[in-house]
């Protein structure tokens, strides 16, 4: 099991300050809190897309960021798969080329699943030659998920993956996510403010309020999950 240590602070020009610290060592951790509590900021910092003012992030033996040591691993070297809330599929590339974007750039020691297996599990076969703007919300979500899986990530960041999916499709997409997490067993940080989603997926739950961690709880029925 991978171990993630996060202790960072970041002050925005607006005055909002993130000052959060936690250590994760479980398969699925749900990061929850109200809008504006700093959930997405934490994911951006972890992915290397936003630089904290100070702090330290360590993923197993790899130091991703250390302000004291002036170390900041660039996003492409972190091997952290980030599924953005609005997916950010590349609009000029077909679904197939979106899926293979990270796979073609994977590090030599990464062992991502095969394209065929990802396409099969996420049922993307019919979509491969289509452009992202022709896909529904649920389809885009599955492509975005497949795209990060094919990079061979060491940690998966899912930012409110059901937020842009129709109510009717949520159960189905959640099923895909559960299947992916079960099949590839990638440590995942899952952001949501939906209590039912959190209850269903979490082995550990980190609650945020106004940029600070207010509680870290292990889920009660860990044995039944994932």
């Amino acid at each position: 099991m991978i171990r993630l240590e996060f202790a960072c602070s970041l002050r925005y020009p607006s005055g909002f300050t993130l000052d959060a610290a936690f250590t994760l060592q479980t398969s699925i951790t749900v990061l929850s809190g109200r809008s504006g509590s700093g959930k997405t900021t934490i994911l951006s910092i972890l992915a290397g897309l936003r630089r904290p003012d100070r702090g330290r992030i360590r993923l197993d033996s790899t130091v991703l960021f250390d302000s004291d040591a002036r170390m900041d691993l660039p996003p492409e070297a972190r091997r952290i798969g980030y599924v953005f809330q609005d997916y950010l599929l590349f609009p000029h590339l077909s679904v197939r080329r979106n899926l293979l974007y990270g796979w073609r750039r994977r590090p030599a020691d990464a062992q991502p699943p095969s394209l065929e297996r990802v396409v099969e599990v996420l049922e993307l076969g019919e979509l491969l030659d289509r452009l992202p703007h022709t896909l529904s919300g649920g389809q885009r979500q599955r492509v975005a998920l497949g795209r990060v899986l094919l990079c061979g990530p060491r940690l998966l960041l899912l930012d409110e993956p059901l937020a842009s999916v129709d109510e009717a499709l949520r159960e189905r997409v959640l099923g895909y996510i559960e299947q992916v997490l079960h099949e590839w067993d990638i440590p995942t940080l899952y952001v949501t403010h939906n209590a039912a989603e959190a209850e269903r997926l979490a082995r550990q739950r980190v609650c945020l309020e106004a940029g600070r961690v207010t509680s870290i709880e292990a889920a009660n029925d860990v044995g039944d999950k994932a």
Binding site: A47, G48, L49, P74, P75, E76, R78, R79, I80, G81, Y82, F84, L88, F90, P91, H92, Y101, G102, R105, R106, P107, H133, R147, V148, C151
Partner: protein
């Protein structure tokens, strides 16, 4: 004396071809610089940005003749840079084919940078972030994601700069002269206008028509590409 095609004399066709050639060369050479500067202005804040923008836009507001004169002062045989170039390598730029290209390029450059800048401003920077998180380095992300997403605006800028170079007159006349065979479309128009006689007037009108058609086609292509880009990439 004329072998006419579409009613235009050979000399007029030569002027159109010369203009198109120097304008194409100018845009080709300035494109990489235009893309880098457009991206920098769209994505980065740095000391001196306002000054750089002012300098870049100067050719838009200065009389072209002034730009031509400044080029001459800088790159003429006795110019600040042209002098050393001539003395050390016997390279002369003023009153050559390259001078016409440079004059057209300088006048069209602000339009190119402006279009590229607007194109990059219209691309969500998070696409590049997504590419980085998928393993692409900064240059890789730029070449495979940001630039292709801005391509319609970049092409539109190329067309606009090309059209501007095609019609360049004042700077070209001062810096590149008007020798036969090295006359641009605009210079040829001016010379025809200065010649008395019905035939000159006829040729003038045909050349004016050709210039209007070329400029309209370039503008229409630019508009089409910009709209197509906006439609497809925000869908």
């Amino acid at each position: 004396m004329d072998t006419r095609f579409l009613g235009l004399a050979a000399e007029d066709w030569q002027a159109i071809a010369f203009s198109a050639g120097v304008s194409a060369a100018a845009v080709t050479v300035s494109l990489p610089f235009g893309v880098v500067l457009g991206w920098l202005l769209a994505r980065r804040d740095f000391v001196g940005k306002a000054l750089l923008e002012t300098l870049l836009n100067l050719p838009l507001v200065l009389p072209p003749v002034v730009m031509g004169y400044l080029l001459l002062v800088l790159l003429g045989r006795r110019g600040l840079l042209g002098g050393p170039l001539h003395d050390a390598f016997e390279i002369d730029i003023a009153f050559t084919w390259a001078a016409a290209a440079l004059a057209g390029g300088v006048m069209g450059f602000p339009l190119l940078v402006r279009a590229v800048r607007v194109a990059f401003q219209g691309v969500d920077p998070r696409f590049a972030q997504a590419a980085r998180s998928l393993g692409a380095g900064p240059l890789d992300a730029f070449l495979t994601v940001s630039l292709p997403l801005a391509r319609h605006g970049v092409i539109a800028g190329v067309v606009l700069a090309f059209a501007r170079g095609l019609g360049e007159f004042g700077a070209t006349l001062l810096f590149a002269g008007s020798r036969p065979g090295r006359r641009t479309l605009a210079v040829q128009l001016y010379l025809l206008h200065e010649q008395p006689g019905a035939e000159s007037e006829q040729r003038l009108w045909r050349l004016v028509t050709a210039a209007v058609v070329l400029s309209c086609a370039a503008l229409a292509a630019s508009e089409y590409l910009e709209r197509r880009g906006a439609r497809r990439d925000t869908a």
